[in-house]
């Protein structure tokens, strides 16, 4: 009978029940959307760093430290056979040297990165570098990223001087031709980086077969004369940022949950507030307080169930559609975050289930709490509509 009364009460409330359901459903949709967008942002940025720089880890020359540019020349080694025999899709040889660029009569310290042209592990816009046919004696082909191009005011086709030191420490300089300004996605391989062909850089610095590191798809075991740096180590800064971001996202999640709570509590309390007299009447008619609480809690559960149903009904097509169109973040091109293309939400089932369960519990609690309070009071207070103010 409790269920019949609750069902009747809920379905016959019309607009009031519908508003309650819709407000909650929209809050749920907003919550899932925000969380998924944040997940998508992090996943995509991580993917960009992996695809453009980190791969599955680096076999790095001992002592090489990307943060100590003055020592880069001292820490290059010949690539061992075990890595050399890896397929081009499973490795990318990289040689890094310090250099200076002279764009528009200014000096600009740069990281000269030479990368093997046959590799397909890292996704970098270096096709023009690969296709460049002229002899190195004329001009050195180079590619820079969009961010670097903007900072240095360089364009595709510009010729400028690049200075470096060869293996014996002799300073050398030559003109380079910007054969492309590529969209690097990852500022780490864009800002302050000049990309050359590995064979060119090796030739310029007299470092035949030498590398600073070899990016690999998978760890292939310890290699004598090389240190292995895992994805976690190479992305420590970003992962730490993400961890902080996760904390921030948890705070954001909590804020969103609080907003949902307020919205749900507001509608539920308002609903119960308006129905105090009804509760008082039921008490006067002799319904036991526990039964009244049960009926109103069941109504809350029904509201929660319908809110979830409506959220799925309206949210699912929206989420599917949004997963197709994504969210344009090209405005982030100036930031140091490794993302500037469209973000696609990443829906985490467990996170969604947690959120839904919390919202469900919340609605039921919001229905239970005020009725419990009312039924604990004198029925005359409820009849006068003064049990909750």
């Amino acid at each position: 009978m409790n269920w019949d009364i609750a069902k009747k009460n809920f379905f016959r409330q019309g607009l009031r029940a519908s508003l309650n359901v819709f407000v909650t459903a929209f809050s749920i949709i907003a919550l899932i959307f925000m969380l998924s967008l944040l997940n998508g942002f992090q996943a995509q940025a991580t993917r960009n760093v992996v695809n453009t720089d980190v791969g599955g880890g680096h076999y790095i020359a001992p002592g090489f430290d990307i943060l100590s540019p003055t020592e880069w020349e001292d820490h290059t080694v010949k690539i061992p056979k075990s890595l050399l025999q890896l397929d081009d899709k499973d490795k990318a040889e990289v040689l890094v040297q310090q250099g200076q660029l002279y764009p528009n009569r200014r000096l600009y310290p740069v990281q000269i990165r030479g990368i093997s042209m046959n590799q397909s592990l890292l996704k970098l816009p270096l096709d023009n570098l690969f296709n460049f046919q002229k002899q190195i004696d004329d001009l050195i082909p180079a590619v820079i990223g969009g961010k670097m191009a903007k900072k240095t005011h360089l364009n595709k086709g510009d010729i400028l001087t690049l200075k470096w030191r060869d293996k014996s420490g002799a300073v050398d300089a030559k003109d380079i031709l910007i054969v492309d300004v590529g969209d690097m996605l990852n500022p780490r391989v864009d800002d302050g980086v000049v990309w050359l062909r590995l064979d060119h850089l090796r030739s310029l610095t007299d470092r035949a077969e030498e590398v600073s590191w070899v990016a690999v798809r998978n760890y292939v075991g310890p290699i004598l004369g090389f240190d292995y740096q895992s994805v976690e180590l190479l992305m420590a800064d970003l992962l730490s940022l993400w961890r902080q971001d996760r904390i921030n996202s948890k705070i954001l999640w909590a804020i969103l949950m609080v907003l949902v709570c307020i919205s749900v509590f507001n509608t539920q309390i308002l609903n119960i507030f308006k129905r105090q007299k009804e509760i008082g009447t039921l008490m006067a008619l002799g319904m036991e307080p526990k039964r009244i609480v049960r009926i109103f809690t069941l109504e809350g559960a029904l509201a929660a169930f319908w809110a979830l149903f409506v959220a799925i009904l309206l949210g699912l097509p929206f989420f599917i559609w949004f997963h197709g169109v994504g969210f344009d973040v090209s405005h982030l091109s100036e930031s140091t975050l490794p993302i500037r293309e469209t973000i696609y939400p990443d829906y985490q089932p467990l996170e969604i289930i947690y959120s839904l369960v919390i919202v469900f519990v919340l609605i039921v609690t919001a229905a239970w709490l005020p009725v419990k309070k009312i039924t604990n009071m004198n029925p005359t207070m409820a009849l006068r509509g003064r049990a909750i103010k």
């Binding site: 009978m1 009747k8 009460n9 016959r12 409330q13 007299k277 009804e278 008082g280 009447t281 039921l282 008490m283 006067a284 008619l285 002799g286 319904m287 036991e288 307080p289 526990k290 004198n378 029925p379 005359t380 009849l383």
Partner: protein
């Protein structure tokens, strides 16, 4: 035969209003017999509604004892008090207090369901009661579709349908015009005679006094006359 239904022994009720105490009833001694048709009269704030609430078990006295037959109401637990109301008391409120999402039929049916009866066993009884209050043609309507007089008839039917020993009517005619008030009073008088339920009004409507058998006057929480 002892036909004492309700008895009050030195009952007082004090409300806390802000920082002040307000004495709504002072040392009331009173008896209500089965089948009586009576009213509490007096100005606003004299304690009429408080008396009805105490009789109906909606409120508890600050001091003194109230007995229903031989049962001391203040000794009842919340659930037993609910059972007492469910089985013995029918309430009629000034503002009708009908459940807005229920039809006339469902509003009248509800007290029977609360008493554990099945709808199919009491359907005829409910329809008969609807017919007695003259609302058979409105049986499927919701309270919002009815006039004030019609709503009060539904409230009367709801109070009577479970065949209670006592009906408590708090200002039942206050929101009605003269014509409707008289119709309601005549109906209640008729049903009192038919169902033998004691009916206790609280009112300051002079029309009511023409119908009742006993009138108790209240002022400042004290009984000033009982005639």
């Amino acid at each position: 035969m002892n036909n004492k239904l309700i008895s009050f022994h030195e009952v007082s009720k004090i409300f806390k209003v802000g920082e002040e105490n307000f004495t709504a009833l002072r040392d009331i001694n009173l008896e209500i017999k089965t089948g009586s048709f009576m009213s509490f009269v007096g100005p606003s704030g004299s304690g009429k509604t408080t008396l009805l609430n105490l009789i109906g078990g909606l409120d508890v006295p600050t001091s003194g004892d109230i007995f229903f037959k031989d049962i001391k109401l203040s000794s009842l637990s919340r659930n037993k008090m609910a059972k007492y109301r469910r089985e013995n008391i029918g309430f009629i409120f000034q503002t009708y207090n009908l459940l807005p999402v229920y039809s006339v039929y469902e509003n009248i049916l509800l007290p029977l369901l609360l008493n554990g009866l099945k709808e199919n066993t009491v359907r005829e009884r409910v329809i008969d009661m609807v017919s007695k209050v003259g609302l058979l043609d409105q049986i499927k309507k919701k309270p919002s579709q009815l006039s004030g007089g019609q709503c009060q008839r539904v409230a009367i039917a709801r109070a009577l349908v479970k065949d209670p020993l006592l009906i408590l009517a708090d200002e039942p005619t206050a929101n009605l015009d003269s014509k409707n008030s008289l119709q309601i009073l005549e109906l209640m008088q008729k049903l009192n005679q038919q169902y033998k339920a004691a009916v206790v009004f609280s009112t300051h409507d002079e029309k009511v006094t023409r119908y009742i058998d006993r009138e108790i006057g209240l002022e400042d929480g004290k009984i000033i006359f009982d005639k």
